[in-house]
Symmetry: C2
Subunit: 314 residues, 2 copies
């Protein structure tokens, strides 16, 4: 039994070492070291090179090492085997940390206090709404979106969520479908994007969507948080919306091109907060343990969990 | 029935107006407009002038308009009537917002990312522990401390709390007394001070206490959050601890002297985050409604709630 691990853009070394430690009895190969292609049972990928998984007659499944699976579809020779999403409570919790941090950062006007501190200004009379007066809308109610929505509600925000198909969650105003999207946007002061990247969601964070956000925010304008995928957003539209008063501020963890090019005006925009696509980086150990457990269960005859619906793209 | 409202350092106008609107049938007087001192049944105070409540023969209770009551004891002529603390879920929730924001701000290394953004540095490989690996210690398990501890635990932090006398809370490692304090400090990466200011707590956030904090923090050193009272902290010791590597960073909402003097080095310290004593400012409307409800209940013969123990000082 051989496992093929193919990683690009990340340092593959800690992944290979950790996988070898977890599975000392298996052969662990890379696209460069593979000899017997028919021996490969499972493949693990982060942005694997196109064709890396072609010609593997006994391949049973491909596991994504990151939360998104859109990277898999860049390979036109992707074999027709189950694709398994990485679902990991550690990653989920880290994503919610980021979402709660940036929701509170904007809600509590931390950037203004940073500026006041810089100027040595003491002004305690700034108007500060309570979290219950701030309407957060979470785009995506999968494992990540549902957890973030739940934690935002526990902090006290007035939380809604949107999903393509209907999902219900206690304490969250749930919207779905195209009509539901407009209804949710109309009551959203802080928009949190945690959607997968699919042909349907690509570029949806654009001028047309921003124009549908609530105009009566107690925070002085709508705020965008994107920790989903960079491809969801149109950065030129974000900048135009910030300049035109359609958006008040944004926290972005993901970008159309990563690393964010030095020339991007987002770097220097005073109302944009940037993190380098690490809102939710899980450790190789945590992710590989979950995959190793899935492989063991699959070999015992149990079904794979978190299998991607290729039609939906996630 | 007359109500005396005495406010210093805040604008008294919105308080008086709101109180008149809530109690149109009562006489609302101030220390300057009072005529018949024997008519006064209840007094409301924020830093009232010493002696303002002396010679009120029918006074039944004094209500504090802010969360702390230490300001009442600056009056050596304070009458011997029940003193009522302001307990307000709105204020409690706002305090927890501040505590969760600043815990996450330090945990997620936002100041480093602010610096990276300023320098246009994209570095996604920064080590980031999970919240479960970060031990938060909350000093004070009253209404504010208990709520903050609960919300920090829901976000995923490893939370402990300390109180002078024993209190138990699900999901929180509870310590108490002098021995318990040292034990909690030894396992604390982020220390959250939400204690009342009393002769026992004055100046307790000092070099000796900082030296007892955990030395093996995953965040590179202990972090201090103080949103309790400025008198809890010795600012010279905070600065020395930051310089000496005993503290890594601090978020302070309260100060020995407020407004924080322009000459204070805290303003310009790169690892100090300052907010102008507004972590939890409630609105006059919310606070006065709670007091008006208490007065109505008291007049129906019900006991006052949240009465201060004068011996403990809170």
């Amino acid at each position: 039994v051989t496992i093929l691990i193919a990683i690009n853009d990340w340092d593959p070394q800690p992944w290979r070492e950790r996988l070898r430690a977890l599975l000392p009895d298996r052969a662990i190969v890379t696209p460069e070291t593979i000899v017997d292609r028919s021996a490969v049972d499972y493949a693990l990928s982060w942005r694997h090179g196109p064709g890396a998984f072609a010609g593997l007659p006994n391949l049973k499944a491909i596991f994504s090492l990151g939360a998104g699976v859109d990277h898999l579809f860049h390979d036109s020779e992707l074999p027709d085997v189950p694709l398994v999403r990485m679902v990991d409570t550690d990653l989920r919790d880290r994503m919610s940390e980021w979402v709660v941090l940036h929701s509170l950062l904007h809600h509590r006007q931390q950037r203004m206090y940073d500026w006041q501190q810089d100027q040595q200004i003491w002004d305690e009379d700034v108007e500060q709404p309570a979290a219950a007066e701030i309407r957060v809308g979470v785009l995506g109610l999968g494992v990540l979106g549902a957890d973030a929505a739940r934690k935002l509600a526990l902090i006290g925000f007035d939380v809604a969520g949107w999903s393509r198909t209907r999902r219900d969650h206690d304490g969250i105003a749930c919207f779905h479908g195209e009509d539901g999207l407009d209804a949710m946007l109309a009551r959203t002061d802080i928009l949190v994007a945690l959607l997968p990247l699919t042909p349907q969601t690509r570029g949806m964070l654009n001028s047309s969507l921003f124009a549908k956000l609530a105009r009566d925010s107690r925070l002085g304008g709508p705020i965008l948080l994107n920790a989903g995928r960079g491809g969801l957003q149109v950065e030129a539209d974000i900048l135009a919306a910030l300049e035109g008063g359609v958006l008040k501020a944004a926290s972005l963890d993901v970008f159309e091109v990563e690393p964010l090019p030095e020339a991007s005006p987002l770097w220097r925009h005073p109302r944009v907060t940037i993190s380098p696509h690490n809102a939710a980086i899980s450790t190789p150990d945590t992710i590989l343990r979950a995959i190793v457990d899935q492989i063991a269960a699959h070999e015992r005859g149990e079904p794979l969990r978190h299998v991607v619906d290729r039609k939906r793209g996630y």
